[in-house]
Amino acid sequence: MKALPRLAILLFLLALAAALVRAVLDLPPPAVDLPAAVAANLGKSGVEHPVTAVLLNFRGYDTLLEVAVLLIALLGVVAVARPTPQHQAKDDANPVLQTLARLLAPLLVLAAGYLLWAGGHRPGGAFQAAALLAGAVVLLRLAGLLPAWPRPHWVLRLGVVLGLFVFLGVAALGQGALLTYPPELAGALILLIEAGLTLSLGLILAGLFLAFAAHREAS
């Protein structure tokens, strides 16, 4: 009965896949050789790793707007999540998990700091470091060591927006176009922005988890 429609869908999907493969193979070569352009300007960017140079110097706008989008997403989640009267961590949690979380959380923070620092000259950077920080927070929450965030404390709110404000401040202080760093200060400014971003993005990513947890406990 259902075999014929399924066969039709399968044939359609195969045709679509063939068309996609064909289109990708037929792509014209890029007009500008971007890797060469990045390599030529790497010396002026203030960092030695090309990915970090692109993300925070050459295409800083994209990163700035990405952070703004993540912040808006968190604001939406916090607005939707209803606050609970009591939001204590559950005390029926597993003691083995709690001990493991207590041991792992400092290591995760240390690894996040390393990734942040490594972003200047090797793979790493603010987003990856922030994801580790958020992982540590989620682990502590799952182990029952952290309360949910039905109504974030003002320190948390400040931490969530700090990275974006540091980024905007550096962008506004630059002379000439927005987000054009003076080459001699570029390395320090990028590290400053990345440190702020690591903290804020870590809190934002963790907040997406913790605000939902609060929402579930309320309902």
């Binding site: 990915v51 793979p123 994801a131 958020a134 997406l208 988890f209 939902f212």
Partner: protein
């Protein structure tokens, strides 16, 4: 040798993606999705894009997996 590894990796990606989509129960689908994310980060590493591999492992597999597991638990217990 690396070719064999790459071929196995590509095959495992396709199989885990299909199994995650076709899994009958949500719990199995979430675990398969996390497995898919980890395999995908391996694939990024093989494509010599370690930055994306790190981000995929931490955000794609780790945080998204935790969110999905949490949603799963909430969907069962909350209603």
């Amino acid at each position: 040798m690396t070719l064999v590894f790459d071929a196995l990796l590509a095959l495992a990606l396709l199989v885990s993606a299909w199994r995650a989509l076709a899994a009958p129960e949500p719990g199995r689908a979430v675990v398969l999705f996390i497995l898919f994310g980890l395999l995908l980060s391996l694939a990024w590493a093989r494509l010599s894009a370690p930055d994306i591999a790190l981000a995929e492992a931490a955000i794609g597999a780790g945080l998204t997996g935790a969110l999905l597991l949490d949603a799963l638990r909430g969907g069962r217990g909350g209603r």
